[in-house]
Assembly symmetry: C2
Homo-oligomer: 95 residues x 2
């Protein structure tokens, strides 16, 4: 399964679904076109502030986008963290 950047979902399910251009959507959200373009093309994360912006303009809760971003962030470094050699801690049996 591919790790889908939340910006993709934002574009398809919100911007495209409302037949909005990136330019117009960026104005509605109060950010520059460059900023929104970076997000929907997976170059930037959806920041906590952006979560609130999306919710304020298009409805829903900020949590949805924040959770999508969090999941994406975890999965995107999953392979890297596999190679981390950290010893699991075992609490001493006897106090």
């Amino acid at each position: 399964m591919r790790n889908i950047h939340p910006g993709e979902i934002l574009r398809e399910e919100v911007i495209n679904a409302n037949e909005l251009s990136i330019t117009d959507a960026s104005k509605l959200l109060g950010v520059t076109r460059t900023t929104l373009s970076n997000i929907v093309n997976g170059k930037s994360e959806i920041s906590p502030e952006m979560c609130y912006r999306i919710a304020a303009v298009f409805g829903g809760s900020p949590d949805i986008w924040a959770n999508l971003q969090t999941k994406y962030n975890l999965r995107s470094i999953e392979d890297k963290m596999k190679h981390f050699k950290l010893s699991p801690y075992r609490a001493n049996i006897r106090a």
Copy 2:
């Protein structure tokens, strides 16, 4: 309700619960004492990488810590975002 920094929970439920010092816990996690101190005192976030470190050393899943951090981040800017004046988008009724 107070917005509890996940570092607090890390200290109480993991480090203290295992009767570890900050110094020893930082060594187990493979970061400096300064870094862990900043986290448990609410000065730094629990980064995605740190989520994996905690899970690798103390068990559980990285998601737990990531979700705690995400919730904290959203709540910490909640008041600020209340004052954001963004017009809700209303899709045109007629196509």
